[in-house]
């Protein structure tokens, strides 16, 4: 292509020249330099990208915006901040997925928060309370859709010893496994205060997801279906 341009006597555009440089084989650099240099540059690039990404994955970064201070204060009263063992969860532990593809998606989606911060969507107590149910429902939707993936980074049914749980908790957790329920089905408002009409709104979120077929099968759903199948079989004989 560059040959054609040269034939007409016109200087090719910047992009075309760049493309020509990229396409042509190297003459001055040895293969070793290119390989090792590329390798090192790759490490530096990925390292700094990852470093910057992780910097945005800290609580300090989250609460550096005024709009996040309100929910952080109420979070400090809850068990995920203040508890007997001293282990605690930070904002990104619950709100940012660990797996890369989900994490990048969450990070891109979160950039809309910058807009809302600048516009001042929730910059007063009244506005915050007005939007609380909406914001909560967005989080509930994400959690229900992902089978409470972020909860399960720490809390897994597989490692729960029901015998050392409170009797009622153990019974409810067993029922949750059998019925294929997910964490957020019962545990709403464990880290932030609940607004009026929260339970109706949660059920609406779940119904909407179910109508669109967006709810993944819970871990225990195979147990539940096997159980009902077995009961059917036994009752038919």
């Amino acid at each position: 292509m560059s040959d054609q341009d040269n034939n007409t006597g016109k200087k090719p555009g910047f992009l075309r020249r760049l493309w020509a440089v990229v396409r042509s084989p190297t003459s001055a650099w040895s293969l070793g330099t290119l390989l090792i240099g590329g390798f090192v540059a790759g490490i530096l690039f990925w390292g700094s990208f990852h470093w910057a990404l992780e910097l945005t994955n800290t609580e300090k970064f989250c609460i550096s915006c005024h709009s996040m201070e309100r929910n952080f204060v109420e979070y400090q009263d809850t068990v995920h901040y203040n508890n007997h063992s001293g282990v605690r969860a930070t904002c990104p532990d619950c709100h940012v997925p660990k797996e890369w593809q989900h994490k990048i998606k969450a990070k891109i989606m979160a950039s809309k928060d910058v807009y809302h911060h600048l516009v001042g969507t929730i910059n007063t107590e009244e506005k915050y309370q007005e939007y609380r149910l909406h914001m909560a429902s967005l989080s509930w939707k994400k959690m229900k859709q992902s089978d409470s993936r972020e909860c399960r980074n720490c809390h897994k049914f597989e490692y729960m010893d029901f015998t050392i749980q409170e009797n009622r908790a153990a019974a409810q957790h067993q029922a949750a496994i059998d019925e294929g329920k997910t964490c957020i089905d019962c545990h709403q408002g464990i880290a932030h205060r609940l607004p009026e009409g929260y339970l109706d709104e949660y059920r609406k979120v779940v119904d909407d997801l179910a109508a669109n077929g967006d709810i993944p099968l819970g871990n225990g759903s195979s147990v539940a279906s096997a159980k009902s199948e077995l009961q059917e079989h036994l009752s038919s004989n």
Partner: protein, 145 residues
């Protein structure tokens, strides 16, 4: 020079008098929350832990049942009541929880309500976590028969 001396003398008197007044006030009326002197160890009462093993029976017929499970950090305020997520009549069946007494669905004038009455909204005004704890305040309550 003499004038300055007089002024500083007056100022010194004012400082001494007001200072002693403040000290006198601190020594007299105020009631500290801490009962023991500051240099002694303040021993607090034993922390009473909730008993979640089984339900306690009622001590008299009209006693509000005690709460046999942890309710730490349950939100009960103007906006939400997390107890009702299991104990309201709409949820109790699914959650295998005892339903609220139907008296809690009666309005001020005795009319039937579908939602828990506002007068009954704050559960822990009557229903408290159960614990085998000594009474905090003596009383001579006797149940009606």
């Amino acid at each position: 020079m003499k004038k300055q001396n007089i002024i500083s003398l007056l100022a010194a008197i004012v400082v001494v008098i007001s200072g002693s007044f403040v000290v006198a006030q601190q020594n007299s009326g105020s009631q500290p929350l801490r009962d023991v002197p500051i240099d002694e160890i303040n021993i607090i009462d034993e922390v009473q832990k909730q008993d979640t093993t089984s339900r306690f029976g009622r001590n008299y017929r009209q006693q509000p049942p005690l709460v046999p499970h942890s309710i730490a950090q349950y939100q009960i305020d103007l906006n939400a009541n997390q107890c009702l997520a299991c104990h309201d009549w709409t949820n109790a069946g699914d959650r295998n929880a005892p339903t609220l007494s139907m008296t809690h669905y009666l309005g001020r004038e005795g009319e039937q309500l579908d939602q828990v009455a506002g007068t009954r909204w704050f559960c822990n005004q009557c229903h408290v976590p159960q614990a085998n704890a000594p009474v905090l305040v003596d009383n001579d309550f006797t149940p009606s028969n």
